[in-house]
């Protein structure tokens, strides 16, 4: 299964890319995908622990235990310009 991963705004600059594709196994949850991504992009580990980041799946806010499907789009969103109250990822 292939998943598309996107980074926006400051995260795009810090990760050094705005988008990548990643192979995952079937029955992978969002939490497992994030773990796998952190192995491939060590910088992401620090970012997620130090910053407020919202993670969306197919442009909707997603729960960590949700299963990821083939072709899903997972995005890492820093706090919006409007100054939203932010939930730690």
């Amino acid at each position: 299964m292939v998943v598309k991963v996107r980074f926006f705004a400051v995260l795009k600059n810090l990760v050094g890319k705005d988008e990548l594709s990643i192979e995952i196994d079937k029955e992978t949850t969002l939490a497992q995908l994030i773990e796998k991504l952190q192995e491939e992009l060590p910088v992401l580990k620090d970012l997620l622990s130090e910053r407020r980041v919202l993670i969306s799946v197919n442009q909707e806010t997603a729960e960590k235990h949700c299963l990821i499907r083939n072709g899903d789009e997972v995005a890492f969103l820093p706090p919006f310009a409007g100054g939203a109250p932010w939930i730690r990822a």
Binding site: R6, F8, A9, V10, N13, S56, Q59, A75, L77, P78, P79, F80, A81, G82, G83, A84, P85
Partner: protein
């Protein structure tokens, strides 16, 4: 590079180009002869430098998701308030001080409803819409959160 996308309705737009407040108000007025009160909120790029030397401002959005959120805000406002029409437009890309950033227009029979619907919509826009702002300074780029 992200490009600007359009949603199913002309009332919801995320765009690079500037907009005309007058034109958008006239579209709202054209919807219904029952409209007696129109409230518009216009957010402009103010001189928020606070000592920093800002060379430009740049708005980025999550295409698709941003428009979906604005559409949801419009539909919720039409449901929750006694209003007739809502337009929401947000600009992205490079802007200068004084430039228009965001426009929300609400048309209603009575003014109190128009004020409530417009004020709620801009609060909600700020809260849930994936749009980010970058300021370019001589020291580099800074992604900022603001509360205008």
């Amino acid at each position: 590079m992200d490009t600007t996308t359009k949603k199913n309705t002309d009332r919801i737009r995320v765009q690079l180009e500037d907009f005309s407040v007058e034109e958008e108000i006239n579209k709202i007025k054209g919807c219904s002869k029952r409209i007696g009160g129109i409230v518009a909120f216009l957010g402009a790029a103010r001189d928020f430098s606070k000592g920093r030397d800002i060379q430009k401002i740049d708005f980025e959005h999550y295409p698709g998701m941003a428009e979906t959120r604005l559409t949801e805000i419009r539909e919720q406002a039409l449901k929750d308030f006694d209003i007739i029409e809502v337009t929401i437009i947000h600009r992205v890309g490079k802007l200068s001080i004084g430039d228009n950033i965001v426009l929300i227009i609400v048309g209603a029979e009575h003014r109190a409803d128009a004020f409530k619907g417009c004020s709620w919509s801009i609060d909600e826009l700020k809260r849930i819409t994936p749009i980010w702002k970058k300021e370019t300074t001589p020291e580099g780029d800074v992604w900022v959160e603001e509360h205008p």
